[in-house]
């Protein structure tokens, strides 16, 4: 692996820690992204059928 991705990945993960609870920043970012996708899936209206909406 070479280039920026190598530089980006070639070090230990950064962890957030509060008492007994510990999580890597990467895992936290993935969980937050999933929560955002979930919220958007609930809130954004589903597109209507193009042919049906013309009627």
């Amino acid at each position: 692996m070479t280039g920026w991705i190598s530089d980006f990945m070639n070090h230990p993960a950064t962890y957030l820690k509060s008492g007994w609870f510990q999580i890597s920043v990467t895992n936290l970012v993935v969980i937050v992204l999933m929560l955002i996708i979930f919220a958007l899936a609930v809130l954004i209206p589903f597109p209507k059928d193009h042919k049906e909406s013309k009627k």
Binding site: V30, I37, F38, F46
Partner: protein, 207 residues
Amino acid sequence: MSDMWTTKLRNKWQKNLPIEKLLPDDQPAYVASWIYVFGVLTLSALGVIIFSGIILAFEGPAWYHTSGAGKFVNSLHFWSVQLFFVFMVIHLWGKFWMAAWRGNRLATWVTGAVAFIASIATAFTGYLVQTNFDSQWISFEAKDGFNSVGVGAWFTVTNLGQMLLLHVAFLPLILGAITVVHVLMVRKRGVVPPIDAEPISLSEAKR
């Protein structure tokens, strides 16, 4: 003739899951929501996983560790697994918050939960059979965990042959079978309505 097991099975199948339910051409109006898309997205990701996994199995580690095409298919397999879990967890959240076990759908919920657990086991064995330093690290960390709960002798994570056979043969068969049963359950009972939804079909709603 009516005592034949084939007749009994056919009659039971036709009673519980007629072809109109198995291959429907209309869905309830509430299905037109993005949150209802994540089940089929999970299935789509599973399709890519199986397809890329079959290519990896035929070509082997020497190919997917060295050639450009091999690395691409290897990455396709890995990233489709990541998407599979993202879609499945959002599907799980959606179904949990709409209490998807309502309306005699407990078996649908339970098969989904079991499929989730089987997916974790399949993905875990996948991490162990990458045949790189990552898989070596994960297996040597995991062996202590498995030994501490007393299953290390039976489920030997450092045994590449055992993990490979579990990953490419046993677990995909289990996961595939549970997924088929889960989808058939959804077809039989129908997609769960939102709480307090009116039971009207999509075609009726468009009229």
